[in-house]
């Protein structure tokens, strides 16, 4: 049991890091395609080895700590960012049960019954990585980036949480496994398109992705919270962003698009079902990542007041109304009136 879980943990670690590495490659390729360019194509065939070259470059750069920086916090910041990005994947059910060596292997590190709460808790800690990094740099641009990041995250977490609660209402459980299993017939997106839209927009804001990438907007804040960072510390920040993009794509797939469920599931069973389920889940994650990147290379950045306006005056009321309507419909169906 312990060995099984350890292998799964190590596998997950490698998969999320590998996925993050190749997402950088894919992002650059996609940006190039959208701009009628070719993109990286020198390292290996089609530039496939580009992430490795980037990683080696990051490690070989001088690791610089500014004299006036708070040394401890400066070092710990990227660590927190990466740590929180990685541990979110612990509660994600990656596929149906796998039968190997006469045992049922659950493809989930920890099936805790408050999965969604755990995810939201960890995501909220994620802002500390950015905040601490920005504060410790002792630099105005970094501080501004950190302030923006934290205010943005706090504002959007509300609407995000409320739209997640509608899903909880629908499935009657906080456990991600139960939520996925409840969608084997009809995916939640059919019942909750508005909640999905709100959740998706808020996820973009939580990820600091365009059009909500104010914390690191190059045009005003140099590099935002990671202005002073260099070498692999910077690499960790960037990596953490991609890892959390991977994880939040997985969470969106679970909450709204049926996780590892796919149409025509009932025709398969056993390991075939498990592998097909994993493949379906991976495809959904990939599509989400693609759309997030596609949006980044299409839409310009919000202004800060527009960002706050959208979060507090549009998304939050909309998600509350959506929650109210969902609650009323569920109450009506249960015969409370």
């Amino acid at each position: 049991m312990l060995i099984e879980k350890s292998i799964l943990v190590i596998l997950l670690f490698l998969v999320s890091l590998g996925a993050a590495a190749y997402m950088t490659y894919f992002e650059r390729k996609l940006a190039a395609w959208i701009q009628d360019r070719v993109g990286p194509d020198r390292a290996g065939p089609f530039g496939i080895l580009q992430p490795i070259a980037d990683g080696v470059k990051m490690f070989l750069k001088e690791d610089f700590i500014p004299a006036k920086a708070d040394k401890w916090l400066f070092i710990i910041g990227p660590g927190i960012a990466m740590f929180t990005a990685l541990i979110t994947s612990a509660v994600i059910p990656w596929g149906p049960k796998l039968h190997l060596f006469g045992r049922d292997i659950v493809l989930q590190v920890a099936d805790i019954n408050i999965g969604i709460l755990y995810v939201f808790g960890v995501i909220s800690i994620g802002v500390y990585g950015i905040m601490i990094g920005g504060w410790a740099s002792n630099n105005k641009y970094s501080l501004y980036g950190a302030i923006r990041a934290s205010s943005q995250m706090i504002s959007y977490e509300l609407a995000m949480g409320v739209s997640a609660i509608t899903i909880v209402l629908l499935s009657g459980s906080l456990s991600l496994t139960t939520i996925v299993e409840g969608q084997s017939d009809v995916w939640n997106i059919v019942y909750q398109p508005v909640a999905f839209l709100i959740f998706f927009i808020c996820a973009l804001a939580e990820l600091n992705r365009a059009p909500f990438d104010l914390p690191e907007c190059e045009s005003e804040l140099v590099g935002g919270y990671h202005t002073e960072y260099s070498s692999m510390k910077l690499g960790l920040y960037l990596f953490a962003e991609y890892t959390s993009m991977f994880v939040s794509s997985a969470i969106m797939a679970i909450l709204f698009f049926g996780g590892y469920n796919f149409p025509g599931m009932s025709h398969f069973s056993g390991n075939t079902l498990a592998i097909l389920g994993i493949a379906a889940f991976a495809t959904k994650i990939f599509l989400f990542i693609f759309v997030i990147m596609w949006i980044r290379w299409t839409i310009p950045r919000f202004r800060f007041d527009q960002l706050m306006h959208l979060g507090w005056k549009s998304l939050l009321p909309l998600s509350l109304i959506n929650l109210l309507v969902t609650g009323l419909v569920i109450a009506y169906k249960n015969g409370w009136f």
Binding site: W33, I34, D36, R37, D41, T298, I299
Partner: protein
Amino acid sequence: MESLTNRKKVVSDKPMTLWEKIYLPAIISGMITTMRHMFRKRKTIKYPEETREFAPVYRGQHVLKRDEQGRENCTACGLCAVACPAEAITMTSAERERGEEHLYREEKYAATYEINMLRCIFCGLCEEACPKEAVFLTDRLVPTYFERDNFTYGKDKLVEAIDQRIDITKRQHTGKRTQL
């Protein structure tokens, strides 16, 4: 005031309609545009493997031509130096001695002829000024150096070798545009 062009537009700042305030339709139309670009032909020229083709009238490094019998055309009249807006050309003239008829076409020739490639703006006015069809700009590039002195090209670099003639037929068609 009457407008000079028909491109005049009245700027309006009327408030956004609800449809515009939702943003989503505009965002989706933008995303369709970028999606269309994903499948366009790439504009990139992969440099070391392919090089961009020069225009037929490209103006690069100069050449001092010889005639069919291998004699230098230049008579050091100095018209190119006068025409040069960047004052990049200097020369000294000398008289042809007896027995040098196979080297220089006319009685006077350029003993030294120098073009400072850092001053030169490659406008081609020297070529236009030359009455003897001696100086031409070619499609060769002037390489880079670390020292300034290397950019002053003397006759050793400018005069074409007898066995390695430089093709300037493209330049001779300029203005006529018959071969395009």
